[in-house]
Symmetry: C2
Subunit: 277 residues, 2 copies
Amino acid sequence: MRNIDQHSITAAVVDSFDGCDSPRLKQLMTSLVTHLHDFAREVKLTEAEWAQGIAFLTATGQKCDDKRQEFILLSDVLGLSMLTVAMNNDKPAGCTEATVFGPFFVEGAPHYAHGDDVANGAAGEPCEVRGTVRGLRGEPIADAVIDVWQADAGGHYDVQHAGLDHAQGRGVLRSGPDGGFHFRTIVAEAYPIPTDGPVGVLLEATGRHPWRPAHLHFKIEAAGYEPLITHVFRDGDTWLDSDAVFGVRQSLVAEWAAQADGTHRLDFGFVLNPARR
Amino acid sequence: MRNIDQHSITAAVVDSFDGCDSPRLKQLMTSLVTHLHDFAREVKLTEAEWAQGIAFLTATGQKCDDKRQEFILLSDVLGLSMLTVAMNNDKPAGCTEATVFGPFFVEGAPHYAHGDDVANGAAGEPCEVRGTVRGLRGEPIADAVIDVWQADAGGHYDVQHAGLDHAQGRGVLRSGPDGGFHFRTIVAEAYPIPTDGPVGVLLEATGRHPWRPAHLHFKIEAAGYEPLITHVFRDGDTWLDSDAVFGVRQSLVAEWAAQADGTHRLDFGFVLNPARR
């Protein structure tokens, strides 16, 4: 390793992991370094670009706090989050597909009974959501724990409203004996991801918009089944074909049907995969 | 882009840069995303590993301040810094090779005359350094501006000593009419890079040591020539074959020769590349 040049260096770095006790970590670092170097050689990265990259990553880390995770946002807009979700949640045909978790889930949301209003004061057009939780053979799954969360009409989640001290547009329900559940809330609306940090600068510089199509988040857990983390997207949304975080799957797009009384209604059937041994 | 899966997602992300005004930025992001996704697929990155990666990058950004740049350190230990230097400083045979800049350069170091003691109180064994600055045809380069900097016997640069308010082991000289310069200082010693941050955790987890072989930094600038940023490494050092930042090139290894009076002496000839048009 005394003759480091732009070609020999990759083997030198890979060899430096020879003493790594964890075969998996060694595999991860070997692949990471090989791809990182291949990228730099492929584009012939300049010293100024390298310095800009260091400054960008530093600013991204420094934007993070207990309410903001800019590195997750970066992973989201580069499609790495959705790629990781897709690879790790491959399911048999017929199961509801997974999509990105997003940064706005809150552990310990209030529990609601069927028919309650989960909006809890959030601004928006009223709607009713009716769902079922079933297995692959159509069997109803009772007592599933269902977390739902969503943005309000202004495109913000409750946690984004400074000073709001209670949950809005967020709650936990349980499926009944027939696997069914229902609640009232507001209609989901499209919203931009936060653009006041380095990720916003990247989107602007690359000519990309920050919008996510309207969606309702679900996390469903039931004994004997794999947990499901997904969204239901609203059919007809402008951004369905250019989601800023690449989360859309056609099977997750559904109609919020307009009702005679001016409200909307969403019906959606969730199908869980049996737990893997 | 409604049928995102682990294979289709890369094209979807690449296509999202279609509106980028800068062809170079588009090329950089396309290559970066392609390699990032290929890495994730190649190792089948798990959701827990992804989360660990996000936490690591966040901690790396948050370790940075006005005296510490942990992302440069990360780039150094992954060989990206040296790769970037090597790619951008390809020179004709006979020129002195470049190596990593490192994080310890300080703009505006004190100016010294030939024969002065650059150590300025830093602890270590005394030595004399004699150098020449020449062009490829052997022509002497007069009036070159030569920055030198180095660690002390304890393995620390002056800027790492809290409370020290003046330069030690650091200074600026000018070559004479014959291209020559000389100064007194202390013998360079091996030292570990800082391990009290995420990069230290990474080195430990992968079974790597943090040591850099003993070296003296040089930055040489002269009108009509390319700037040269390099080190001279000390022959016989334990870590020459496993430099933690992959900076060693055999042509930069030299002898600090023991003198009859117990001091050491380094002689080194620097050859600059003509400036490119």
